[in-house]
Symmetry: none
Subunit: 227 residues, 4 copies
Amino acid sequence: MSFCSFINFMSNCSFNIIIMTEKKFSRNKQEKIDLIYDNFFKLILEKGYHKTSTNHIAKSAKISIGTIYKYFPKGKQDIMRKYFEDTMENIFNISGLYNVGENKIRDFLKDFILILYNNHKEKKAYNIAFRSAIQSDKMLLKAHKERLFDSFKNAAQKLRGKNEIFNQIPEERLIKLFIFLYNLINALIYHHLSVMRLFDTDMELTDYLSNLTTFSLQYLTRVDNKK
Amino acid sequence: MSFCSFINFMSNCSFNIIIMTEKKFSRNKQEKIDLIYDNFFKLILEKGYHKTSTNHIAKSAKISIGTIYKYFPKGKQDIMRKYFEDTMENIFNISGLYNVGENKIRDFLKDFILILYNNHKEKKAYNIAFRSAIQSDKMLLKAHKERLFDSFKNAAQKLRGKNEIFNQIPEERLIKLFIFLYNLINALIYHHLSVMRLFDTDMELTDYLSNLTTFSLQYLTRVDNKK
Amino acid sequence: MSFCSFINFMSNCSFNIIIMTEKKFSRNKQEKIDLIYDNFFKLILEKGYHKTSTNHIAKSAKISIGTIYKYFPKGKQDIMRKYFEDTMENIFNISGLYNVGENKIRDFLKDFILILYNNHKEKKAYNIAFRSAIQSDKMLLKAHKERLFDSFKNAAQKLRGKNEIFNQIPEERLIKLFIFLYNLINALIYHHLSVMRLFDTDMELTDYLSNLTTFSLQYLTRVDNKK
Amino acid sequence: MSFCSFINFMSNCSFNIIIMTEKKFSRNKQEKIDLIYDNFFKLILEKGYHKTSTNHIAKSAKISIGTIYKYFPKGKQDIMRKYFEDTMENIFNISGLYNVGENKIRDFLKDFILILYNNHKEKKAYNIAFRSAIQSDKMLLKAHKERLFDSFKNAAQKLRGKNEIFNQIPEERLIKLFIFLYNLINALIYHHLSVMRLFDTDMELTDYLSNLTTFSLQYLTRVDNKK
DNA sequence: AATGAATGAGAATTCATTCAT
DNA sequence: TATGAATGAATTCTCATTCAT
């Protein structure tokens, strides 16, 4: 029996079968899904969301169109939805963000901005696509809003426990503030990266955003107190 | 001269009846173009930019698809481009805007915001379409940038002649500042109206923008001076 | 001016334009629609209803797929529906059918059978398609039932005016009887022509149907009276 | 003998444990086939024959698509064919049917009708599918005809031995008569159940069919004698 | 034996654009 | 000028079938 035959024989043994089958299937499946994501976003950068068709994705990923519809039965809409769900945890569960001491809100905001900014840079295609997708998929917009609320509820609770200033703001209000800042920052980063540059350098943008959010936080807290 | 040549000759004559016909046609032409614009934007609000086809516009406007391609040989792209050109003067040539005295910069910014805000509200469909169009039509984006520059150059010149504070800022820098504020305001209004509301009421938005622009003007001027 | 130029000139004259345009457009339109019908039914005989696609029809008719969807926006479903509507009058408005004197009911039924039989033979493809279509298009089935009712209401009124025997049967009952006979005859002709032959010759079939309907009429009238 | 050959050899041995495994597999096999049948017909009632795909059946039956193609290598076509073959004996080998004495032909026909009627009701999905299948599978139609002939040959022989009246009709002729009645009854039951109701109640239908078959038997015998 | 991932031909449908009238 | 019939490439999505595991 040659070595190869031995390997083949071994691969039929039961203790191996299960492990390999699981690995193989799950690896292949995730590989295909990643291929679809990668090529989808690659094409969006090249041609835009609406000119990227499921057939283009299949051809670009060198898989069959049927495979795309196996994993994403509603085509592009499902690619967006599932990517949205798959990346749920990536943005806001960064523990470092919440190690904020007294009087360090400015640093907290700066970190927050950098996270959003890097997310935009790294996932430019996704962000372009997401803006397009929520126009025609109201469920996705709803899910996005709900996730924002949940994430910032979580963040607010953590921060109020650690920081005196945050603690003075009612939780509900703090969540709304964070959602506002999130929208504010995203609107400007998106505009800067995908519509028209606001500054010559990205550093100038993040510096500006840092001051802008501090200003906005003060402005909104002041307005709040007047009411 | 053959009979046909005679007919051709006649059709070029400036007899009264022919002039009237021409006038009538030219009035009809503008009517048709307006019909196309109106129904295009109506449909964009209903179905979105990408799901609005030239055939739909024709059916909605009760004109033939051929007529659309007569006036707009490249279809939707040309509708956007020509509407952009047709409305060139409407936004920034508002004389009232420039009657700004000393210490009245805040009022100037408030007026500026209101003009942009009302423009967004009234031309929501156009603004949605414009964002979509510049993604795939780089010429349109370029033209938009050039127009912004020209308009604000004009505005800067007028304002520097009338106002001491503006006069202290170099023209080139003032133009850049205005373009920045324009982009800032538009990014946020667009986000508020077409992506996700930033405030519960529109008044809160314009109040915030008013303070935001004042802050930004100070911030940028300060940063500028440091350099 | 050559003769051809003269013809061309003439063809631009107003009195001709209207006639020609009307003729031309309507002729072409009906030509295309007839092409679609003809090739649709030709293919149904060759491959069956479900294996006949709109693309096949277009290829077979040597027209573009767009033309089919211009006239029949919902594809095959609309071809069936519109053909159904176009042929509304053909079956029952045969005046000869109603020239039925006293004691000639047998002859009337014979004529009725022959009309249905010839309709099946001549429109075999349509009848096959119709059976398939009403399985997935409940509206078509409903329209079919309504038309049957209206047609036989009309027939019943005519016949009750002319024939003593029919006059003894209440109108409502007579309509039901006709619809029953219609279904009976059609079920058997369809089975004979498209599922499995009931008789060796078609003559035997029509003879049998003739006796069967006479029998059924007596049977149902008798049952009716007992109730 | 290598290790592998030994394994192969072992797998053919008739040790008890292996016999049990085989039995278990064969029981499983029939279970799988029944699952396929059940879910196929369930889906046909829900969506129709043509919209029921092999993939749907697999999903509905919670087995893999591969299993369906293992037992039915040509998919739906084979499911129909094999179901047709599996149910071969069920319809006509009902011994009660042939306990027909003198002058009881009417009762015999009534029983015959009830059997066919109940078969249609209970196997509505199969009957719908069968009609669709024989349109595109001429072999199935041929097999159906052959089975009808064989079944009624068998029935004719039994009945001629027991009943004087049947005995007067030549066997060949009797077979043809039965096939005719079978087609007649089926055509009308199918029309009533799946196209358009002939009567308000099913009882009325079976009563009518009972009289109709008696009439038809007399009619055909009479016609026969004339020839 | 059983699984189910993968394929890709093909079906329905849309849409920008052309062109004869 | 104006019409709208006609085109056909492109898009979304389905389905029978194969094959590696």
